[in-house]
C-alpha cells in the first residue's frame, strides 16, 4: 500500500503550516485545509470528542474564514494593536505514513509565543497533523493542538497555535 506522501513532503507541510501563521499569510494557510478539514484545540487531556465536551477551539473552514477575515477587519478592536506569534517546532515525527484509505499522522512538539506589544504569552504542547491527498495536493484533514496547560485559566489567545 502506498503511503499518503513521501516522508519529506509530509514533514515539509507541517513546517510550512506554522510559518504561514507566523507570517500572517492566513489566506494561504487556510488553503492548506481540506474542504472538510478542522482545527481543534481540546480543553482536556485525551479529550475524545469536540461535539460533546467543551473545547478551546474547534473550527471548520467556515469558522476559520470568520476568524481570518475578522483579523483583517478594521473593527477588530482587540487587534488595533496587533498580535504576532512565533512557533518553534521540534522535528515532526511520522506516526503513520497512511495509505489510500488512511490519513497520515504526524506529531510535532512545539513552543508557541504570542505577543501583543508589552504582553507576551508562552505556550508549549504537541500538534497532531492528519494529512490526506486531495488530487495532487497534500491537505490537512485535522490539526489537533494539545496545550500542556489546556486546563489552566488563560488570557485571550488571539492567533492560531
Amino acid at each position: 500500500m502506498s503511503p499518503v506522501a513521501g516522508d519529506q513532503e509530509l514533514i515539509d507541510l507541517v513546517y510550512a503550516e506554522a510559518r504561514l501563521i507566523d507570517e500572517k499569510r492566513l489566506e494561504e494557510w487556510y488553503e492548506l485545509y481540506a474542504e472538510d478539514g478542522h482545527y481543534w484545540m481540546p480543553l482536556t487531556r485525551g479529550q475524545q470528542s469536540p461535539a460533546s465536551e467543551n473545547s478551546l477551539m474547534y473550527e471548520d473552514k467556515l469558522l476559520l474564514q470568520v476568524r481570518i477575515r475578522r483579523l483583517a477587519s478594521a473593527n477588530a478592536h482587540s487587534q488595533a494593536q496587533p498580535s504576532w506569534c512565533q512557533h518553534v517546532l521540534q522535528a515532526p515525527s511520522i506516526e503513520d505514513r497512511g495509505s489510500i484509505t488512511r490519513v497520515a499522522v504526524l506529531r510535532t512538539a512545539f513552543l508557541y509565543v504570542e505577543s501583543r506589544r508589552d504582553d507576551q504569552q508562552v505556550y508549549a504542547g504537541v500538534a497532531w497533523h492528519h494529512l490526506k491527498r486531495a488530487g495532487e495536493r497534500l491537505v490537512i484533514l485535522l490539526k489537533r493542538v494539545e496545550l500542556v496547560n489546556c486546563e489552566a485559566a488563560l488570557p485571550s489567545l488571539q492567533l492560531f497555535v
Binding site: 461535539a51 477575515r69 477588530a76
Partner: protein
C-alpha cells in the same frame, strides 16, 4: 492599604449618585477587599452543581472571596460545603480540584483524618494530646461547614456569614431563570458536562457582570466577529439552511431596536435578566425530536410555556450568570481588583437528544473560550476601561441611560426597555447596601 472606606459608610454611599458611579469601585484595592468581606461573604454565592459530586466521597474544591471551600457528598448522600482547611495547622486538606476521596478526608501534612461530614475522626499518636484541651479547642470542630447552604434544582449556593437574608429573600423571583433551565430538561435533571472553559479576565469582576445585561455593546464590539459572519453568509440564497454557528453569531449584530424591545427585568439585591420578551436565542432552528420529548414529559401546554421563555442572560448577583435557553452558565471568581476568573460550564438536559448538547457546546466555545473571537473584543473593552479609568480628568462613570430618579428611588424592581442601564444601577444599589454595613455578622 489606605483606610478610606472601612469605617466610613458615608464615603461609600458617595460612590454612587444614581446616574453615575465613582471609578474607585473598579480600581481601588481597599474597596475590593471590603467587597469580599461585605458583599461576597454576606450574599448567596454559587459554589457548583450537585451533578459534579454524584457519589459518596466525590468532591469539588473551589475558592470564593478568598475562602477555600469543598463541596462534598457524604456517606448518607447528603451534599455538604465545608471549609477546605485542616483543623490542625491550617493546610488545605483536599489538594485536587475534583475527585473521590474514598471514605475519609486525610490531611497531606500530618495525616489528621475527617469523616465526609467534616467531623474529626483520627489524630496520629493521640496520646500526645491527653490533657492538652484538644477536645475543647477550635481544632475539635474538624472541617467546619459553611454557615448557610441552599441547593436549588441542583445549583449549590452558600452564604459565608452567619446572619443574613434567606436564600428565598435574596434571590426572590429571579430564581425562575434557574427553574426554566431545569424545566427544559424532559427529566427535570441537569448535568454539568466535562470541564469548564476558564477565561482569565484582566479586569474588575463588575465590568464582566455589568456586560451580561448590557445590550448597547453587541452591535459595536461584536461587529468584527458576528458582523464578519453575517457578511460571509449574506450571499447565500434565502432558503439555504444556516449552519449552527451562523445561527448563533448573527443575532449579536441585531439592531438597537431589537435589543431595546427585548426588555430587562430587575429584581431586588442586584439580580436581573434581559430577554423578557424574546432574545438572541429566539430564532434557532426547531428541534422536533426534543419538542416531542418535552410534550411527552410535561403535556403540550406546559412544554410550550417552558420553551417560549427564551431569556438572554440572568445575573445572580454577584457570582453567577445563567443562559437557560442555551444551557450555559458563567461563574465569576474575583482574584484581585483587576483580575477575574470566569468559568463557563455547559449543562446537559438529561433525557434530551444529543443535538441539544452539541448546540450548547458550540455556543459555549464560540462565545466563552479564551480563544473566542467574541470574547476577545469584550475582554479588550474591559481592559480599555480598567486602564482608561486612571484618567484623572473625570472620576465618574456614566450609567444614566434611561435613568428616572424619582421612579427608581421609589423602588427599582420591574420591567424596563432592554437598552436601559437600569440593571447596572440595580447592582450598585445592592452593592452600596451591602458595603455600608460594618462587615460584622448580622
Amino acid at each position: 492599604m489606605v483606610n478610606r472606606f472601612h469605617d466610613n459608610p458615608s464615603a461609600i454611599r458617595g460612590l454612587f449618585r444614581g446616574g453615575e458611579v465613582h471609578r474607585d469601585v473598579y480600581i481601588d484595592e481597599e474597596l475590593f477587599a471590603l467587597e469580599m468581606d461585605r458583599l461576597w461573604r454576606t450574599g448567596w454565592v454559587y459554589v457548583g452543581h450537585d451533578s459534579q459530586v454524584p457519589a459518596p466521597g466525590d468532591y469539588y474544591a473551589t475558592e470564593i472571596a478568598g475562602q477555600p471551600l469543598l463541596m462534598i457528598r457524604s456517606q448518607d448522600g447528603e451534599l455538604r460545603v465545608l471549609y477546605n482547611r485542616c483543623a490542625h495547622r491550617g493546610a488545605k486538606v483536599v489538594s485536587a480540584v475534583s475527585g473521590n476521596c474514598g471514605g475519609i478526608l486525610r490531611c497531606p501534612y500530618h495525616g489528621w483524618t475527617y469523616r465526609l461530614d467534616g467531623t474529626l475522626r483520627t489524630v496520629p499518636l493521640r496520646a500526645g494530646y491527653a490533657g492538652t484541651g484538644l477536645e475543647e479547642s477550635s481544632a475539635a470542630l474538624g472541617l467546619a461547614a459553611v454557615p448557610a447552604l441552599a441547593v436549588h434544582r441542583g445549583f449549590v449556593f452558600v452564604r459565608l456569614s452567619r446572619e443574613g437574608r434567606t436564600f428565598r429573600e435574596y434571590f426572590g423571583d429571579s430564581i425562575s431563570s434557574i427553574d426554566n433551565l431545569a424545566d427544559r430538561s424532559p427529566s427535570g435533571r441537569l448535568e454539568i458536562v466535562g470541564a469548564p472553559l476558564r477565561y482569565l479576565h484582566e479586569c474588575n469582576w463588575k465590568l464582566f457582570i455589568e456586560n451580561l445585561n448590557d445590550t448597547m455593546h453587541p452591535m459595536v464590539a461584536h461587529e468584527s466577529s458576528a458582523g464578519t459572519a453575517r457578511d460571509l453568509w449574506k450571499n447565500q440564497p434565502a432558503e439555504a439552511r444556516k449552519p449552527m454557528v451562523i445561527e448563533q453569531f448573527l443575532p449579536f449584530v441585531s439592531s438597537y431596536d431589537f435589543f431595546d424591545k427585548m426588555g430587562v427585568k430587575i429584581f431586588d439585591h442586584g439580580h436581573s435578566y434581559t430577554g423578557v420578551n424574546f432574545s438572541i436565542h429566539s430564532s434557532y432552528s426547531a428541534m422536533p425530536e426534543y419538542e416531542a420529548a418535552m410534550e411527552q414529559a410535561y403535556g403540550a401546554e406546559r412544554a410550550r410555556a417552558i420553551l417560549q421563555e427564551i431569556r438572554h442572560n440572568t445575573v445572580f448577583y454577584p457570582s453567577l450568570t445563567v443562559k437557560g435557553a442555551i444551557q450555559t452558565i458563567r461563574v465569576v471568581r474575583p482574584l484581585a481588583v483587576d483580575r477575574t476568573l470566569v468559568e463557563s460550564y455547559t449543562l446537559r438536559l438529561v433525557g434530551a437528544p444529543e443535538a441539544l448538547l452539541e448546540r450548547s457546546i458550540t455556543y459555549n466555545r464560540l462565545i466563552n473560550s479564551p480563544a473566542s473571537v467574541v470574547g476577545h473584543d469584550d475582554m479588550h473593552c474591559y481592559r480599555q476601561i480598567q486602564e482608561g479609568l486612571a484618567g484623572g480628568v473625570n472620576e465618574w462613570v456614566s450609567v444614566c441611560r434611561n435613568y428616572s430618579p424619582s421612579g427608581e428611588d421609589a423602588g427599582i424592581a420591574g420591567i424596563y426597555n432592554g437598552t436601559s442601564e437600569v440593571s447596572v444601577r440595580g447592582q450598585f444599589r445592592a452593592w452600596i447596601a451591602a458595603m455600608v454595613s460594618d462587615g460584622q455578622e448580622r
